[in-house]
């Protein structure tokens, strides 16, 4: 296998440093698979001409605002609407036609929650929609919400998941006998492998709750189209076909009566893979009143209602040999699931992913895990970029470093010795995940060399003139991407991904239209799908148009999540393109009066023994001059819809090692990232520039999780960060110049060997930054184990350890 290394300087001006021999199925043409093609979509985005739901106005449109619960837990005694507000103010009982959202799974012991479009009987978190108000403008709709009176009987509030786990009297859902959505138990050879291990390391670690904070929050505009007899919904979603299924189901109308159009979407990250109650409410309004209604979530609503992810707690015990070789791992994971499960992915996704992915890229054979998913009076947990893996990577990678400290070795060495070696690929791990390909150790060693570990260790020994402490950290992970039917059907979710389809159509001028059912909201798929079509057909890249995000014009797909789109829909695009090639040859041969078996198709040209003609002439014959067609022309014409599924759908595993250097100021608790390196392998690269953009965005979000982002709640369940004054997001000045290096090990199971990579960047940063900080604080005997690493937490940890800041050394 050959490896390609690229070097990216912050990605904005990526420079190819070294290009080794490519080991690809096909040649890189300059615009096909592997090429650094500029993104088609950027022209409109850079000019401010994107088109989002917030940009849309339909004649007679009303705006919607929600009255939200001011308390975290209580029974609704009475709601009093302002006089004369009929048709403008709605409560749950007004929405009889809209069903509560319930998402079952087949996971044993999973308890169902009913998520009503508006609060029914009880409120279970601050911000839960209680009443819906409609007015010509949003401001007037908000005025209306102030006139609705709600009386509550307050109930005791469950804020802490560990406490709620044991609580049986106070219950988020009365019909349950406790507060556990789900408890998972897994034991695979734990006792046998742990027995007699000379090194035992125990840690308690946690990640706090945060929001996803896409630039655009929820946004929906729904109206009834009389001509098509359809509810047409402009919907900021990652999964247009899935939310169509959901809306039709919960509103009790035919699937064909709903068309979902997802226009430009300002970031999804997992927030937009479900049907939210507000969205069901607005769709109901349009169905009921047959005119346009719009709701756009504002930032404060997002930070309150969207404070819904990442909150995990770990108790881990690792058993290792004297060299730090991991023998067995015992885990107790508690996930703060919030108040409601979601449709269709359910809150069970997170504990399932946490349990299955905690062992990470490591080769060991004893694993026991008990995972609790607990209901609390907070917004219902949603899957955020990385889905559980940011948490498990944080927990596992801090454990690897703790083991290294226990056995007195360099963390990278212990990590290296435990990683699945390339010689073992493909490898079935202790949770029976099938790692398809890769060289995990090489990625780590490359990260070690690129960060320049030896030089930093030397500088560390000398000490800093300003007294700050230097630390170097590493983290490795592997990431299941594009996992399909066999994985999701095992969880028994309401919607299971299967084949993804693509439609490819030759236009009368020889251009291509490519239609896919996934959606692009930052992934650059208008570009990468076109690169794949260009790779197969040779049609000029700028003559290929990619259409996504509209159930009325694209084939069904479960949509964009789980780092699946380029593998699944990309594979379908390739399949559909290949299907058309013989049809081109058949018509082309007839036009050239040559025998079919003497004619071939080559990059946009039909090549015969005497002459060649461009695809355009074939297209003109089919559409404009059918008198020239052969009598046996394929009746499928010049378009086709075909599906794709990988040869094995247990997932194409991308992987990476990240390394970071930090300087810690122990007097004020400030952490500066001095260098950051990511060495990643997502199989065959379709567009390295897009991969780098995705990686950078993910790493920026991961740095947010590591250092800044937190949605704290007080003891009454009141959110304490509801504006950007209190909720810190990293900005351009907080993100260091990240250096990205690519390895390229194709997956044996996918088209071109592509692996998914949309989420990966967000997985490793908390682990790598904490490992670096803990490396810096090692002389003080201080270890940080809770995200985010605020100055307060850092200083408190130093104080707890009884350590004082070391005196400045050097010439200060």
């Amino acid at each position: 296998m050959t490896t390609t290394l690229y070097w990216g300087n912050c990605g904005w001006q990526a420079i190819k440093l070294s290009l080794l021999i490519l080991d690809r199925m096909t040649e890189v043409t300059g615009q096909g698979v592997g090429a650094r093609v500029r993104r088609k979509e950027d022209s409109r985005f850079l000019r401010g001409r994107g088109n989002y739901v917030s940009d849309m106005i339909l004649p007679g449109q009303s705006e919607v605002a929600f009255l939200r619960s001011p308390i975290a837990h209580g029974r609704i005694r009475r709601i009093t609407k302002p006089p004369g507000s009929e048709g403008r103010v709605f409560v749950r009982s007004d929405l009889a036609e809209a069903a509560a959202m319930i998402a079952p799974t087949t996971v044993p012991g999973y308890k169902l929650s009913e998520w009503h479009p508006l609060a029914h009987d009880k409120v279970r978190f601050v911000g839960e929609p209680v009443a819906m108000c409609v007015a010509p403008t949003r401001a007037e709709a908000e005025d209306l919400t102030e006139q609705v009176e709600v009386e509550f009987d307050e109930l005791p509030v469950l804020v802490d998941a560990l406490a709620a786990r044991a609580e049986k009297t106070v219950r988020v859902h009365e019909q349950w006998d406790d507060n556990l959505f789900l408890t998972l138990n897994l034991d695979n050879g734990y006792d046998a492998n742990a027995k007699g291990a000379p090194v035992v390391v125990r840690r308690e670690l946690s990640l706090n709750r945060q929001a996803m904070v896409p630039m655009e929050g929820k946004a929906i505009l729904a109206h009834w189209d009389e001509r098509s007899d359809q509810l047409v919904v402009y919907y900021s979603t990652q999964v247009p076909h899935v939310v169509r299924v959901g809306l039709a189901q919960f509103l009790g109308i035919d699937q064909g009566q709903v068309r979902v159009i997802s226009p430009d979407v300002g970031g999804g990250f997992g927030y937009k893979v479900i049907v939210h109650p507000e969205e069901l409410c607005v769709a109901w309004l349009a169905l009921k009143y047959r005119r346009p209604f719009r709701y756009v979530e504002d930032r404060r609503e997002h930070l309150v209602v969207g404070a819904n992810t990442r909150q995990h707690h770990y108790r881990l015990t690792a058993h290792a040999d004297q060299r730090g070789r991991l023998l067995a791992l015992d885990a107790e994971i508690t996930i703060d699931g919030g108040a409601y499960s979601n449709w269709p992915f359910t809150v069970a996704l997170e504990p399932g992913q946490a349990t299955g992915n905690l062992p990470g890229p490591y080769d060991f054979r004893g694993y026991r895990c008990k995972t609790y998913c607990v209901a609390t009076n907070k917004p219902g947990f949603l899957p955020y970029r990385g889905v559980a893996r940011t948490g498990v990577c944080f927990a596992m990678e801090l454990m690897i470093d703790a083991i290294a400290r226990a056995v007195g070795r360099e963390p990278w060495e212990v990590r290296h010795d435990n990683l699945v070696p390339a010689s073992a690929m493909p490898y079935d791990n202790v949770t029976r995940k099938h790692y398809d390909s890769g060289d995990y150790q090489k990625a780590l060693l490359t990260a070690r060399d690129k960060i320049g570990l030896a030089a930093w260790r030397e500088r560390q020994r000398k000490g800093e003139p300003d007294g700050r402490l230097i630390g170097v950290g590493f983290a490795s992970y592997c990431e299941q991407t594009a996992h399909g039917t066999s994985v999701f059907s095992g969880w028994g979710l309401p919607i299971v991904p299967g084949y993804d389809q693509a439609t490819v159509r030759v236009m009368p001028d020889g251009g291509l239209e490519v239609r896919v059912g996934v959606h692009s909201h930052g992934q650059g798929m208008e570009t990468t799908m076109a690169q794949i079509a260009h790779e197969i057909t040779g049609v000029a890249f700028d003559k290929i148009r990619v259409i996504l995000g509209d159930t009325g014009t694209t084939p069904y797909s479960t949509g964009t999540y789980a780092s699946r789109s380029i593998v699944m829909s990309g594979g379908a695009v390739a399949n559909a393109c290949k299907e058309l090639l013989p049809r081109f040859v058949l018509i082309g041969a007839h036009l050239m009066q040559a025998a079919v078996n003497t004619v071939r198709y080559e990059r946009g040209m039909i090549v015969g023994p005497q002459k060649s003609i461009p695809l355009r002439e074939v297209a003109e014959a089919w559409y404009l001059r059918p008198q020239e067609l052969p009598p046996d022309a394929d009746r499928g014409g010049l378009e086709t819809t075909l599906a794709f599924k990988p040869a094995r759908d247990t997932g194409a595993f991308s992987y990476a090692s990240h390394a970071a250097v930090v300087a810690v100021d122990t007097s004020i608790g400030q952490v500066e990232i001095l260098d950051y390196v990511a060495v990643e392998d997502c199989g065959t690269l379709v567009n390295p520039m897009v991969v780098e953009g995705q990686s950078l965005g993910g790493i920026a979000q991961g740095i947010g999780t590591a250092l800044y982002e937190e949605s704290p709640f007080d003891a009454n369940g009141q959110p304490l960060a509801s504006t950007f004054a209190d909720y810190l997001l990293p900005g351009p000045t907080e993100i260091p110049a990240i250096r990205i290096f690519h390895m390229e090990t194709p997956s044996p199971y996918t088209e071109f060997g592509i692996k998914g990579m949309g989420e990966g960047g967000a997985i490793a940063p908390p682990a790598v930054i904490f490992n670096a900080v803990n490396d810096a604080l090692k002389p003080l005997g201080v270890e940080l184990t809770e995200t985010p690493l605020s100055p307060r937490r850092l200083l408190e940890a130093i104080e707890r350890a009884g350590a004082s800041a070391p005196l400045p050394v050097g010439d200060a």
Binding site: T137, R138, A139, E142, D143, E146, D298, R299, R300, E301, I668, Q670, Y708, T723, A725, L728, L729, P730, G731, T733, E734, S790, P791
Partner: protein, 211 residues
């Protein structure tokens, strides 16, 4: 997150502005750059019945050299002060402080007078100007009054400005060439309100050094 209903006037001069405040009987708010008031309106934390927009009054947008001090109009923006590095002899500290306020987009709209009148203890001007020994000029229906900034600031978000008064300008004594100053704020990220901040000014020939 849209503002509740309010009325709006844009007076032609300071006299009309003071009169508008008087007529509103305490329900009015002055709008200058709107960088603090805007979010407070949208969050409905501020619910004035009337906004009196003084942002386009030329008389509040002057920077004048009055010899021993610079007189800066209340509606002079942070970015304008930031950009006066070569023109504000003895007032260099002002340029430096201005350049560190939030982001340029905010500095383009936010005003020095608005910041002082808002009196957020984690913002820059109240601290920096107090350290520099600045004086504020206040206009009201009866005429005008002046007071040291330190007396004007009564506490967090509280000033000596009455509801019918307008902060007209701030006078900042010039530092001599021998003068020294330092200004530092601790923020976890660029543009954030300070978690802690400190200013020190040493003006030789005066009886005070301020920290």
């Amino acid at each position: 997150m849209k503002a509740a209903r309010f009325d709006y006037v844009r007076p032609d001069d300071l006299h009309q502005a003071v009169a508008a405040l008087g007529r509103a009987g305490g329900g009015a708010k002055l709008l200058a750059g709107g960088q603090s008031l805007g979010p407070m309106l949208n969050l409905r934390l501020a619910r004035p019945s009337l906004l009196v927009d003084v942002s386009r009054l030329d008389s509040l947008a002057r920077v004048e050299d009055i010899g021993r001090a610079w007189r800066i109009g209340a509606c002079v923006t942070h970015s304008r002060i930031e950009d006066m590095r070569e023109q504000l002899a003895g007032g260099e500290m002002l340029c430096e402080v201005a350049a560190g306020i939030a982001y340029r987009a905010i500095r383009n709209r936010g005003t020095i007078g608005g910041s002082i009148a808002h009196a957020d203890p984690s913002s820059d001007w109240p601290l920096a100007l107090a350290a520099l020994g600045a004086t504020v000029n206040i206009r009201n229906a009866g005429g005008a009054r002046a007071m040291p900034l330190e007396k004007f600031l009564l506490g967090a978000f509280t000033t000596a400005l009455r509801e019918d008064e307008i902060l007209e300008s701030v006078e900042v004594p010039k530092l001599s060439r021998a003068g020294r100053y330092g200004y530092y704020k601790f923020c976890r990220k660029t543009g954030e309100y300070a978690e802690a901040s400190a200013a020190a000014v040493f003006a030789p020939g005066t009886p005070f050094a301020r920290i």
